[in-house]
Amino acid sequence: MAEETHGSSRSNRSEQRPRRKYNTRYVRKPRFCQFCSDKTLAIDYKNTSLLRKFTTEEGKIKPRRQTGACAKHQRAVSREIKRARHIALLPFTGGTWEEKAR
């Protein structure tokens, strides 16, 4: 992290800079799919506290490279998030922003 904040002073490494600029919120991928390792953990649209971990602050579904879920479980997660959105348990957009505004 310390390297990234000082990136502007290293103007000689101009090739790497544009990539780094958008990579500041890099989330390390978990090594295992957590649903495969814990079979009791059910993916359900009613469990919003779990599903919230799989959405970004803006309410978007996180990509698989961030969640670390396997293809099967990522599909299940996205399906349940969409269900939760339909009954207004999760926001379509602007989750944190809207809570502050109220």
Partner: protein
């Protein structure tokens, strides 16, 4: 007969009597089609993530229902007409 979960969001300004009436009508449609309501779970008044019909709160009910699958479309049609219900969702439960 398949098992379904029905989530119903009811308008927050209604009194208990009107809510009972609405739930009674849903139960009526389910039993009419030969199904049964196994469980009714009241989540109560919740703040919704976004406004539905200008309301930011809703009264949530979860119904566990077993019903013949062919008649779900009729139930869905009825739920859209039912005035106190501002949003509903029917999910098939397979296990």
């Amino acid at each position: 007969m398949n098992k379904y979960e029905i989530v119903v969001i009811i308008h927050p300004d209604l009194d208990d009597e009107a809510i009972e009436q609405a739930l009674g009508r849903i139960e009526g449609w389910v039993t009419e089609s030969g199904g049964s309501i196994d469980n009714v779970d009241k989540w109560g008044k919740r703040r919704m993530s976004y406004e539905i019909q200008k309301q930011d709160e809703g009264i949530y009910y979860l119904l566990n229902v077993s019903m013949p699958p062919a008649l779900i479309s009729d139930l869905e049609k009825n739920l859209t007409i039912l005035e106190p219900v501002i949003r509903y969702m029917i999910v098939a439960k397979n296990k």
